[in-house]
Amino acid sequence: MIDLRFYEIWREQIFVEKLINGIGTSILLMILGGIIGFIFGLALATARGSKIRFLRIPSATFIESVRNTPLIVQLFFVCFGLPMIFEYRWPFFASALLALCLNFSAYYAEIIRAGFDNVEYGQSEAARALGLGKNDILAYIVLPQALAKVYPSLVSQFVFLFLTTGIISEVGVEDLTWAGRYIADRNFRDFEVFIVLTIAYALLSVMFRGVLTATGQLVFPWYREK
């Protein structure tokens, strides 16, 4: 029978501190990354659906490059490659956040684009018939409906992306996964530590999903499942 010693985690105050800090860092990264990534994604989706080739081609290229390469490669490129090319130094947290934002934005962009494609043509036609201009139609008619339609997918993607953020511990950001490694390296109770991590990630995921779903009901009270 396996001998589980969870008290080996709580025994040291520094371990508990690292865990709590890790949870905080993971949540902060995800909220910032989620919001900034969503805004970038919105811009990318709009650019990709644009008639202007100068906007459409670069955005499509970016989206496909991100979606077809591993996150860890993107992470190293943003944290080490870009600073070498452009000769700047950022804290790892900022670089990792940028990498996550860029990664998220590409996935969000594709979901949002699917939303744009699913708004009935009659909607923009009715808006045109009222004399509304292109930008107003996008902002007031198409966008709100597109977001409502894909909102559940955006929430799922958000939670999925949250679960991939552990990878940023590779560049030394002290997130939840990093805290687990830190503890396991010192008390050698890898199994117990990773059980605790698993539970923490699961609870955080459920929390994010719950908060986002409730937010959706507030923001889109008019939306009816077809």
């Binding site: 009715a126 018939a129 009222l130 509304l132 008619i141 009270p221 008019w222």
Partner: protein, 244 residues
């Protein structure tokens, strides 16, 4: 009487298929015209050319003294002056009934929320559903939705109204409430073009009935003449089918 719409030798093709074939039609201010004809005859396309929703290839379209450009470059100038009601209502599902009505007046005419709101309530009363103003379209019946769509178009205070089969998607028992609203509107002196299969409405309201087939205007007549002594064989056949 003052001319509101003038279509002169209007031609339109979808690819190699000609949907509108040398259309000539002139409509005066306050006139009510009903367009009927079999499906695919170009009725909807015709009125969609009037408010520049569809581009056309040759001829001229003159609406409210503005010449519609073929490529639709001045489309919004026309569209703000012309109201349109669709078969599928096309209300904005994410906006309340009131907001459906006020969005365009605020954004296009630059009215304040209060001004637009007052105007919208006036027209919602006109179509007899002011009590639904704060609801979302999905909470309304089809007939109510179509009346909101009429109020939404009227809130822009258009110079003429186009109706594209406004009752075709409705349950039979609510068709009358929408037709009654249209009759009321006709009595206010609004210029109206209605594509409809409601021959009763045509008899009651229309000054002229236009019959179209295969992209051509076959016959234009007063309702009395149109229903009692249609000149063309094609019209007679159509009426025998529609009136049963």
């Amino acid at each position: 009487m003052e001319t509101c719409i003038n279509l002169n030798d209007l031609n339109k093709w979808f690819g190699s298929f000609q949907v509108l074939d040398s259309i000539n039609l002139s409509i005066s201010t306050a006139e009510k015209v009903v367009i009927c004809g079999p499906s695919g005859s170009g009725k909807s396309t015709l009125i969609r050319c009037v408010n520049a929703l569809e581009p056309f290839q040759s001829g001229s379209v003159n609406v409210c003294g503005i010449s519609v450009e073929k490529n639709g470059r001045n489309a919004t100038d026309i569209q703000r002056r012309v109201g349109m009601v669709f078969q599928q209502f096309n209300l904005f599902p994410h906006l309340s009934v009131l907001k459906n009505c006020t969005l365009a007046p605020c954004r296009v005419l630059g009215l304040s929320d209060d001004e637009a709101g007052a105007k919208a309530m006036h027209y919602l009363e006109r179509v007899r559903i002011p009590e639904q103003a704060s609801k979302y379209p999905a909470d309304l019946s089809g007939g109510q939705q179509q009346r909101v769509a009429i109020a939404r178009a009227l809130t822009m205070e258009p110079e003429l109204m186009l109706f594209d089969e406004p009752t075709s998607a409705l349950d039979p028992e609510v068709v009358t409430e929408v037709l009654d609203t249209m009759v009321d509107l006709a009595e206010t002196g609004m210029t109206m073009i209605c594509v409809t299969h409601e021959m009763g409405f045509a008899k009651q309201v229309a000054d002229r009935v236009v019959f179209m087939d295969e992209g051509k205007i076959i016959e234009i007549a007063t309702p009395e003449k149109f229903f009692s002594e249609p000149t063309h064989e094609r019209t007679q056949f159509f009426l025998s089918r529609v009136l049963g």
